[in-house]
Symmetry: C2
Subunit: 665 residues, 2 copies
């Protein structure tokens, strides 16, 4: 019964075919007794045995019967760091890599290929990560709660203590299997006990955790309280240019690294939503980040500094201030002054993980600064892991976006990978969607986002469909027709969610605080800077050169495109422009008719998703099927509320009837 | 320093004049050694000594110097129950009463008259209560929290235990001083530990509490969990017609009264907002109430049954269902079937304590049923005891309302007093506004509502101004000019609050859950049945015979008046009618212009309130002055938000500009 406490997600192997020959392992250039290699071999053994029924023989101990194939693990300089080259043959499988992580990833590649239908001898892949850093950010609090968590409580923390159990290792296995190499375990809003994570109180357990992680190629990171000198140091300032403060940090960082030599570094949210930061002392964000960067440098650590800084006490009456501008306004000026081991972590859009936003102009707007793209797979604004919303297409759009920051290699993928500027640091981070629910992600199908983010951060060239198909094959092993159905469900889901929620990039319209379900005016008169500005004639925020000027934060090509309603991509029209309801879209529809149509369609298409799921009933394990089915029931309620509230709101405001005469209240 | 823990509100006596002669006490027909009489004498001694400096001499023990006046306490049948006749003369003061409560109230009358400026020899009043029952309802939870409490935590409960301390007795003194004779100490939503108040776990403390109350003429009541047979009895039903359930209640009530002989009875909220009730078993509200009434009858107890029953999972799309109708629909049919010791407790309006509502049609709509009027002095929807809102004018309007239920004596005051139908039971109850804040009521000025409700329930003929002037005189003892200012502030405050919040009786438009501050659409698409139905052309709920038919629940004269926009009182226009923004009101203004004007005026007048308060600076005790000043600062923020959000909302929706060209966003 121990096994039933949590699912194995995509690592729950079932027999794919019957292998004919057992394996032995041969190492060339790697030591067998390092933990990472041992784990790699463990994963190969577990995978190949469960998938094909053959054994991995220890030729020194086990009795050999018949011929053996060889898993040959070879060190080579011809493969980039963390990369691998795997090739199957009748003699076995070769894994070539230049480092241990490469071996681990190569093994998981083999398992993945077999799980997806290849025979061992057909296995073949050469790959190396698109991004140096591929990270998960947990927003777990030490009391066990998770900020914006929709999958139960934390599996890292409970009652201000750190949990280490079998689940911890399974977690590390999941992360390694999709190429994640860094994990921040605690919430960026560091409060209470979490401020003491960098004290002796927690070093023993953190050390164990960092080792379990390290053995799977993952570096442990912590979120840091910028006010630590005050809160745990008893000082009266945390001014980053204060000598005493710097000294305090030097001593503290030495103390930390003495005990946690594997620590990757720190993630910092400063001067944001009530968190302390350098602004308090009239310092720049660079002053704060660089000070910490310098202090941590001798230990090989890095500082990841979030760019989520904006005025969260805005007066809704003030149409001049634009929250969308804030990140660029605050961080662009210091471009080039951030030190080498400092990375700015930038949300994909300028607002906050809405279903549709333009790409943040900071991405590529910064030309001489390490950058990391932050996305959110925790579905804060995208359905709380109740509503199906496969987010990889959204992430792909971001990665493929041309910033025009460089004559070549100017996509966001290029920028954050370091390719554009030749940076050694950069990559992608996701606010993770896990918790201690039996299935880890609340909605079983939300695991596709967890899997997909890891795979995409490792290889940004992968398509959304390829990733979806991999995840489906590894998770459910459906017949082709049903796999197609599920794949189509995933690929349609983001657009469906967008259709029945906020239209054309305007965002928000969610229930305040919870961010689930509609409340069209919920944030319209609030202090959060998130307005739609709808009146009886039109809706949208003028962010052109005649409005807040946000569009001008982009390089010229994009600035011009966004500035003109005629060239602005329709799906972002209301993000950049205040548009009359009677405005004719490129489709020939008026804006108001588009709002009505898309909401009716979105709700209908959500119902179709649920019908599609029902068609898989006998092919999905019963418990998983029922869990997801319950979520679809809730999603349909939600879609209906969104449809009717949004349509009613705009009908009541505009007075313009639906041309098709459908029911609006 | 013990004294500084809480204020004495209107019982904080200061020297008014120097009396010339000490008093002795003479009793005629009352025994000196009963607790109520002893407390009455204690109150006289304390009051007369602190107000005039003379002493009350015990002629058997103290040395008598010079002549004495006499406080003569006489029993007489010529005064109604709980009434008193007090008369001062050069020889002293006489108090005549037919019972001990009458003596107590007579003494407090003497003190009040002296505190308000009369000399002892001038004291003269004959009074008896308008209402048999004059009750306070605490919504205190046993964990110490207070539902809709804005004055700190409970002073009755903490960590699931009952608190008894000096504050308990002061509380009883306050209540007796304003004529309150019944108190329900726990929240009508009975959950958790509160379900166990009727078990041995709490009897000892409840007994002590009932005695402290009883010694000040107050009967203790408890809120009851209708599902007690299930929750504490371990049964599988609480069907009121089930023999086993009835037997369980018989045993339980006997057990309770064996230990708490002074208990007045129970308040029950059934079948409302998730509470269990008779509907669960297909029984009527009368079935539930009568069963409990019968069981408690042998002990002289009464059952107070709340009429706050409605569908709180309404679909906002459904314009046929009208929450306002629910109370009448559920309770009218069984009129005449409720037993003699059962009282229906009816909120003043059909919705829920909004700043303006019509009077509930159940009041007087029921012709053969004991009725109690429920009002809320806890300012849930009227400013959270931050905003100044003197509610006595609102209560007066309710009491003065002609229901037309009888050719004579048809006002609500007549109905609930029992005068209309000759009922022995009935009266008024207030959801109280107290907590353990130092000043008891959060805003010091909110004590005027506490004081005022008690006085009004004792004498419904008192004017709002008379009550305000009494309270001011007893609390602050200001010079005439400043007393006039403060009195004017109180009397203006309700209309001001109405002006800057929701217009013309439509109600709500509050922030969901908290109910403080504006959110025009906050409940518009919710399940709570509280809608304004605003579109680009107009606003309001059609409750006429062409709409939900609610207006037809009144007797003909009122039904006709409400049914026609021409005769409907303007302040309730939007409660009964859906009205175009361009509709011309009796004032000659359009509806939309009225909305704009009243909101600009309301905010301005709120600012004037704050200025008026500042003018009292040196005449109000400093701490109290500052506490209230802080509240005014918050009120002005609130008024500004209301003004701008409501005006912006309707401007954006209607597209009609303010004729005066003021700033609307």
């Amino acid at each position: 019964m121990e096994e039933a406490k949590w699912t194995k997600m995509w690592l729950d192997y079932h027999r794919i075919y019957d292998g004919d020959m057992d394996f032995k392992v041969a190492l060339d250039g790697f030591a067998e007794d390092t933990a990472v290699i041992a784990n790699a071999i463990f994963e190969f053994r577990k995978g190949i045995e469960e998938l094909t029924g053959v054994k991995v023989i220890d030729v020194r101990k086990d009795r050999v019967i018949g011929n053996l194939k060889t898993l040959s693990i070879k060190k080579t300089d011809s493969v980039p760091p963390e990369g691998y080259r795997v090739a199957g043959s009748d003699d076995g499988i070769t894994v070539e890599a230049s480092d241990e992580r490469g071996v681990l990833y190569g093994i998981f590649s083999i398992i993945r290929q077999i799980a997806c239908g290849k025979r061992a001898e057909e296995v073949a892949e050469e790959a190396s990560p698109s991004n140096p850093l591929r990270m998960m950010n947990h927003w777990d609090n030490m009391d066990g709660s998770i900020e914006r968590g929709y999958s139960g409580e934390s599996f890292f923390f409970e009652k201000d203590e750190i949990i280490i159990n079998d689940r911890t290792r399974d977690y590390a296995r999941f992360m390694a299997s999709i190429g994640i190499n860094g994990v921040v375990i605690n919430n960026v809003n560091v409060k209470g006990a979490a401020s003491y994570l960098i004290t002796d109180r927690y070093f023993d357990r953190l050390e164990s955790l960092s080792e379990i992680f390290g053995d799977y190629g993952i570096r442990l990171f912590l979120s840091l309280n910028f006010a630590s000198p005050i809160e745990i140091g008893g000082m009266d300032t945390c001014d980053p240019l204060d000598r005493e403060v710097i000294k305090w940090w030097e001593d503290k960082i030495k103390e930390i690294y003495d005990r946690l030599p594997l620590l990757g570094g720190f993630l910092v949210k400063a001067d944001s939503e009530g968190r302390p930061g350098p602004f308090t002392y009239g310092r720049t964000q660079a002053d704060g980040a660089n000070m910490l960067g310098d202090v941590i440098k001798p230990y090989g650590g890095i500082i990841i500094w979030r760019c989520f800084v904006y005025n969260c006490t805005q007066d809704w009456r003030d149409t001049k201030i634009d929250r969308a501008r804030a990140g660029y306004d605050y961080f662009k000026e210091q471009d080039g002054t951030y030190h080498d081991n400092v990375i700015l972590q930038i949300k994909n859009g300028p607002m906050d993980f809405q279903i549709r936003e333009p790409v943040s102009p900071l991405l590529g707007g910064l030309k001489r600064t390490n950058q990391m793209l932050e996305v959110q797979i925790a579905q804060e604004y995208t359905g709380h892991q109740i509503d199906l919303c496969y987010l990889i297409p959204l992430f792909k759009e971001v990665l493929d976006f041309h910033t025009f920051c460089s004559p070549e290699k100017d996509t966001v993928a290029d920028v954050v990978s370091g390719r554009t500027m030749g940076n050694a640091l950069g990559g992608m981070a996701a606010v993770i969607n896990t918790g201690n629910d039996i299935n880890w992600t609340g909605n079983d199908l939300a695991a596709a986002n967890l899997y997909g983010f890891g795979r995409l951060s490792f290889d940004t060239e992968l398509s959304s469909e390829k990733i979806a198909r991999e995840w489906i094959a590894m998770t459910y092993r459906l017949p082709d027709k049903e796999a197609d159905i599920l794949c189509s469900m995933l690929l349609r889901s983001r657009e469906i969610y967008e259709k029945y929620t906020s239209p054309l990039g305007i965002g928000w319209m969610v229930t305040p605080n919870t961010h689930y379900g509609p409340s069209v005016d919920g944030y319209e008169y609030s202090r959060w800077g998130t307005y739609h500005r709808a009146d009886h004639l039109g809706i949208g925020v003028d962010r052109t050169d005649k409005g807040t000027g946000y569009a001008q934060q982009y390089y010229e090509q994009n600035a011009e495109m966004y500035n003109d309603p005629a060239t602005c991509p329709q799906e972002l029209l209301l993000f950049f422009h205040h548009i009359p309801y009677t405005f004719e879209l490129k489709t020939g529809k008026t804006l108001i008719q588009h709002i009505y149509d898309s909401h009716f369609e979105g709700e209908e298409e959500a119902r179709k998703l649920a019908v599609d799921w029902d068609s898989l009933k006998d092919l999905i394990p019963e418990e998983a099927f029922e869990r997801v089915k319950e979520r679809f029931d809730l999603q349909l309620d939600n879609a209906r509320e969104w449809r009717d509230q949004v349509n009613s709101y705009f009908f009541r405001k505009s007075g313009i009837a639906d041309k098709k005469g459908r029911t609006i209240y």
